[in-house]
């Protein structure tokens, strides 16, 4: 019997809504799977798509982006930018052969601890169904590995 696949998920939360929602889930003893590692940003608008690409390239199986509901952003409209970037990023990821379902955006207000926990639960199950992404192996497939540059220099 092989071990069941436990996906590794990186979650980005915004300081004002979704991080508080995750906090609320904790203080109200609401359970969500430990597969997600939360990183707090000041705003979902701070989320550089580079972060998502780096997480996936570094071995994450999925990325959850969370923020305040549209219209409720602490910085007025930055979550609109986050939404636009997310929708464009999904297209780019599809072209790169990454299932768009591996990256998801969820809005959660500071009061929605229970909902956020349920969304995390659902997302983890969905990524579990997709299986491991294992990007380092993608880059090295067919023996065309990307070795670290050799150190033999003759200058």
């Amino acid at each position: 019997m092989s071990e069941p696949f436990e996906p590794l998920i990186i979650g980005f939360t915004c300081n004002w809504c979704s991080y508080r929602a995750a906090d609320l889930a904790g203080t109200s003893r609401e359970k969500y799977p430990p597969n997600i590692r939360l990183i707090r940003l000041m705003c979902s608008g701070r989320l550089d798509p580079t972060f998502v690409l780096k997480a996936l390239a570094g071995g994450a199986d999925g990325v959850l982006i969370t923020g305040c509901h549209p219209g409720e952003c602490h910085y007025l409209e930055q979550n609109f930018k986050a939404l636009r970037r997310y929708l464009l990023l999904r297209r780019l990821l599809t072209q790169m052969g990454v299932e768009p379902a591996r990256v998801r955006l969820v809005w959660a207000s500071a009061a929605e601890g229970v909902r956020l926990a349920a969304e995390i639960d659902r997302f983890v199950e969905e990524v579990r169904r997709l299986g491991p992404l294992n990007w380092p192996a993608v880059v090295s497939e067919n023996g065309a590995e990307m070795p670290e540059p050799a150190t033999e220099v003759t200058a």
Binding site: D48, P49, T50, L53, K54, L56, A57, H69, P70, G71, E77, F80, K81, L83, R84, R85, L87, L88, L89, R91, L92, T94, Q95, M96, G97, V98, E99, W107, L130, G131, P132, L133, N134, W135, V138, V139, E141, N142, G143, A144, M146, P147, P149, A150, T151, E152, V153, T154, A155
Partner: protein, 349 residues
């Protein structure tokens, strides 16, 4: 240095189009100065030297080697390693050597699909027996060997350490000349070489900084392909809905493309401190999209933004047109679990 006191110069092309070599020739009569100052010991495009000659040189024999082209097959990689050993200063010259450039767009697909497109499916190909290149072929006279084609295109720096990088597709002649002048001065002890590993012959700010087109506030409601509209002269192309990589691209070229109505292609690569040019362009582009307002319900909001994104053809091929090999993901997944087999690739223009 040669016996005549001249530093030795080499130039090589791996997987590239030859534009870099043309760009060196485009320094015009200053080429005579290059010939006067350097002793050319290897330059397949311009002088008759063989690989055997290079193998016979002692290590570190070539003082300055400009290497253009990406690493696409075993021959490219072998020459990269050989020239690294034989050169004191190895320069990744041009976008292919620096970050993969157009050849690396085939990282969006697989080796099998690339060979299929080139040798079987292209409209101008007639190959009824479906012959594909084989690394080894037996013929009556013996066994023939050709270089093996890689699945993933790599940059020079991903195979051997490089001392300097000159970006551009191709590098602009005035920038090439400026670099050669510095190197010559340094070899004569009149100047210092730039810090090892640096990007030379390029600017430190984005293309927009040196672009003379008028920039107002950018709000784009849809994007256009270059053939769909005639841009209004003098006005920022991005504002007119033409994808221009200027905000995410290193300057130094003089913003030549936007000035003639063609959005920046992105060939000078990302700016200092940026790891992934495509991600930065994606960010910039998404920021100027004018769709969705507060108060809209979440479903309509998403639909309205998707409609604008529909007008961006081929995001991966556009944002990574030159930097695929150097991007964070480096290539597309083509046969992973759930990965789409035989993805459409290409720059789309």
């Amino acid at each position: 240095m040669s016996d005549n006191g001249k530093p030795r110069f080499g130039m090589y092309w791996a997987s590239s189009c030859g534009g870099c070599e043309i760009s060196v020739l485009n320094i015009h009569d200053k080429l005579l100065v290059v010939d006067e100052v350097f002793d050319v010991v290897f330059w397949p495009c311009a002088a008759d030297f063989k690989y055997e000659d290079v193998r016979g040189y002692p290590d570190g024999y070539i003082d300055l080697c400009l290497f253009n082209g990406a690493i696409r097959n075993t021959e490219n990689e072998e020459m990269a390693r050989l020239l690294r050993r034989k050169s004191k200063v190895l320069v990744a010259f041009g976008s292919c050597a620096y970050e993969g450039c157009i050849p690396a767009l085939s990282n969006l697909t697989s080796k099998a699909d690339t060979l299929q497109a080139v040798y079987l499916n292209s409209p101008s190909t007639e190959n009824p027996s479906g012959i594909l290149p084989q690394p080894r072929t037996s013929v009556p006279e013996g066994e023939l060997e050709i270089p093996e084609f890689y699945h993933t295109v790599k940059s020079l720096g991903q195979v051997v350490p490089v001392d300097y990088t000159i970006p551009g597709c191709p590098p602009e002649p005035h920038q090439i000349w400026a670099v050669l002048e510095t190197v010559v001065a340094a070899l004569k002890g009149q100047a210092d070489l730039p810090p090892a590993g640096s990007i030379i012959g390029a600017g430190q700010t984005a293309v927009c900084e040196e672009c003379p087109l008028t920039k107002n506030e950018k709000t784009v409601r849809r994007f256009y392909r270059p053939w769909e509209v005639k841009p209004e002269p003098g006005l920022c192309l991005l504002e007119q809905g033409l994808v221009c990589m200027g905000p995410a691209t290193r300057g130094g070229c003089g913003a030549l493309c936007p000035q003639v109505g063609m959005g920046c292609r992105g060939c000078y690569g990302p700016l200092d401190g940026v790891e992934d040019q495509g991600a930065r362009m994606l960010t910039a582009l998404a920021s100027v999209v004018e769709a969705g307002r507060p108060g809209m319900d979440e479903h309509t909001l998403e639909k309205e933004i998707e409609a604008v994104m529909d007008t961006i053809a081929d995001p991966a091929g556009t944002f990574y047109r030159f930097s695929m090999a150097h991007s964070i993901l480096k290539r597309a997944r083509v046969n992973g679990n759930g990965g789409k087999p035989g993805l459409q690739s290409g720059s789309g223009e």
